[in-house]
Symmetry: C3
């Protein structure tokens, strides 16, 4: 996110919200944002919850699972309350942990080197272990140690050079998804270039042809390589910004659903990062789906005005609260943050977002501060 920093210092500690039932509602309006991040002490969770939590895998339940087993629900009345409390404790633990700090964040803005007027970006593809949520490590392929790779942001008409070094054990190639480039810069092995072998580098260079929210990703063994993390945002600002919406934040929001589980910008709840805005601000969100499934993104409390598809402005914007985003698509929306509070913001395929162990995967929040 270009104007959103990582967790430290800036974000709300949702975990500080009081949860005793007596004062919950009274203080609800105070729970939004402030102070430093406080990790949720695991000692606060009941033993039953801890035990159950160890069952949760990085990928969450398999798609289609309903996230419930009948066992605990069939207990007698007294035991039933106890099972409900144990389940609630797991749910509370996840939410109190949010936003949970992880070691490294992807999608970090990447300043170019300027070489004789050319904006030069250097990318290195390599294997790594990636932390999607606290202590959830997955095997990843990453550009510059980030999943998603660093965010490239240039302007229409810029001359750019991207130097990709392949430190993988497989060949690879780089496709600029959405850019209408000369054919030999399109990055498809055996059609527009040979594959880039392990240990080799390849240089792409072009004048940026069309504005919008685009992506870069591997186009070789791509179901595997993109699924494991070889992807990033390629944002092109228009030369003429007079038609652009005036916004206070410009957020890139990349969806994925492969071997890393259900992720937003490479992270799973509670490791996802909230969007934090001041009351009255406008936030532009650039959704990009790099996964294999649709994800209908539902924002609570405020609607989304859809302004562009695949980087092309819509002459007729439309409003929604749930925007369905298919693989390869990009949709730009603007949210007018006129409703204060902490708002759930999640994929509405519910098994991508919640199990009986609590929220996981494709869940974050939009925090509107008074």
């Amino acid at each position: 996110m270009s104007k959103t920093t990582s967790n430290d210092g800036m974000l709300a500690t949702l975990s500080e919200a009081p949860t005793s039932r007596r004062n919950f509602l009274r203080s609800a309006s105070l729970t939004a944002v402030g102070g430093a991040l406080v990790a949720c002490g695991s000692s606060a969770a009941p033993a039953a919850a801890k035990q159950a939590a160890t069952v949760t895998q990085a990928g969450g339940p398999k798609p289609g699972a309903t996230g419930g087993t009948m066992g605990p629900h069939d207990t007698a009345a007294g035991a039933g309350v106890s099972a409900a409390d144990a389940m609630d404790a797991m749910h509370e633990k996840g939410i109190k942990a949010f936003p949970a700090k992880t070691a490294v964040y992807g999608n970090q803005p990447m300043p170019p080197k300027i070489v004789k007027g050319v904006k030069v970006f250097e990318l290195t593809a390599a294997e790594m272990q990636w932390e999607t949520a606290p202590e959830q490590f997955v095997a990843a392929l990453a550009y510059n140690g980030q999943v998603p790779g660093p965010q490239i942001r240039v302007t229409e008409g810029d001359r750019v050079r991207i130097v990709l070094t392949n430190k993988l054990k497989q060949s690879t190639a780089l496709h600029f998804h959405g850019l209408e480039l000369p054919n030999d810069q399109d990055g498809v092995p055996f059609i527009t270039q040979p594959p880039i072998k392990p240990g080799e580098s390849h240089t792409y260079e072009f004048v940026v042809p069309n504005a919008g929210s685009h992506m870069y990703h591997s186009h070789h063994n791509a179901a595997y390589q993109v699924g494991l993390g070889l992807l990033g945002a390629f944002i092109v600002e228009p030369k003429d910004k007079s038609q652009e919406p005036k916004v206070d934040q410009d957020v890139v929001f990349i969806l994925n659903d492969g071997a890393h589980g259900y992720t937003f910008n490479g992270k799973s709840f509670p490791g996802t990062q909230p969007i934090v805005a001041k009351l009255g601000q406008k936030v532009r969100i650039r959704y990009m789906n790099e996964g294999m499934m649709i994800h209908p993104m539902h924002l609570h409390g405020m609607h989304q005005t859809v302004i562009a598809k695949d980087g092309w402005p819509l002459s007729n914007p439309w409003k929604c609260d749930t925007l369905n985003i298919a693989p390869g698509e990009r949709w730009d929306v603007v949210v007018n943050c006129n409703n204060p509070g902490t708002w759930a913001f999640h994929c509405h395929i519910l098994p991508h977002a919640e199990s009986d162990h609590g929220m996981f995967g494709m869940v974050t929040a939009l925090v509107v501060q008074k």
Copy 2:
């Protein structure tokens, strides 16, 4: 459906349609609607069909199944005709049974109690057995004994109070999907309120902020609770109705695909209810997807004009015959019933609608009476 009553007395008995091949086409125009519901006598079905029918489960075949086995198709010519007849008998049996009566219907309009100018709705969540199609009972969680829960219909600016009593063995909470409410009425445990424990009640109260086709559903262990039935329609009429389309019927059409199988308003074919209109009438359909999959809804014989997304009117309506509806989305369409007859109306993911045992799941009909 606000203006559509349950089966008795009103709907066509499709099962009365003559099916001997000699007079079928001659009398086809007479088969539309009239008389009382006549259950399809099971004695009419060949033994082979009956035996096969017992294989059909509430959920129908698994998504992705092609609904065919090669075995019966590989028989010799003579036996092949016989197998074809047996298959046809199963198909005919289902269609003759439609609309098959089941014990209880969901989505029934719920009149509020008016308490000092406040519209009060009382909901109780409890376990029950739900009949999706005749003798197909599934474990359900229901509001007021209905799946979907009772239909709430109010007007923009109304003050409403919803009192939810939890008779489940789990905690729960109520989210008003699409309504731009004050944060503390948003119904997300540990973010905007504590969970509502088994045996407890919780009161939501707010001034209805925005018009449109919205939903209410559980937001706690929601993949499980919504999948089992804790959902309903929350329709908000605009204060200024001058921009509303003039229609003769206003139908709510909730799609689901969880443990209950593929359902329309909680029912699977042949237990689904047709929409019955007079020639020349206009019908507004408010689609709502509470499931985990897309459902492209295909209407035969007439097109659908799409007028709103998630309750927000489209400035530029568009036409289609197949409308793709993703989880969490609502789409409003208007159908101009200008083509008389009984028209199939189904999800066009064919394994959600038909197997070699006949139609099931997401199938209903639009009956246009002369």
Copy 3:
């Protein structure tokens, strides 16, 4: 495709492109199109690749598979390069084979017989073996020996007669998906007609009511029958063509994903057919999804302008590079072929298009010739 002939003589031999790395980029602009089809000699592929290739099934990997196994990627550095070369060889082999010739092509334009002013089309449904890619034969049900069936193209207001003869072992029926026909021509057994038994014929006759990109397909045991090939395009030209876009080619592009694997017009890569256009031409593509899954179609190098949904012109066309197409939907787009080269064109659900054995399934190319 009405104006696109089959492979012979016309299409580029992509397999002639030089692939030695030294001269690849230098000659890239020359590789587009020309000469006769040259099959890729299997002797060019290393033994390891050949062995691996035999694993590839008609349907490709199961949806959701990531197309990679960790085994080969975990080899030591030296062996790693060798594994990369072996993988690349498999990828190269597939692309060099494209467009690979198969015995019979579907979707061939079908000229009607004119009988007293009526356009008569005769269709025969029968079992056959269908070749989706070289030596990939699958059990199919086909109209006139084609998958998709022959392309029917008529004009609004034409009187047409379709005579369907059933040589299957099952009953069948023909639905005209998208046409607003009189009810008794709608083709739904037990609702609008009796099933057409094996050995019987049935005649449909009507005046074509509405223009657009429509389909015909079985509506009996349809998950099975359509999945195995009983489908085709039914294109209706408007009477008044003044509002039609002026295009140089008009291409029908039918997507399917059943037991035949992931196919475009009945073929899987490398058996798919490219679209070949001259620089500056405009190509209209009529997408039709006859499968069970969405397919977001991504075109490289140029955008797509969306002009119609389900045959209904959009008053407000919009642009994209990735168009999500759901089962039963038709979308018409126009591509302005202003960027020369061979452009990948594929479903962006990557496991529908690529595995670690190379591209397969829903992949083709748009070739723009200088």
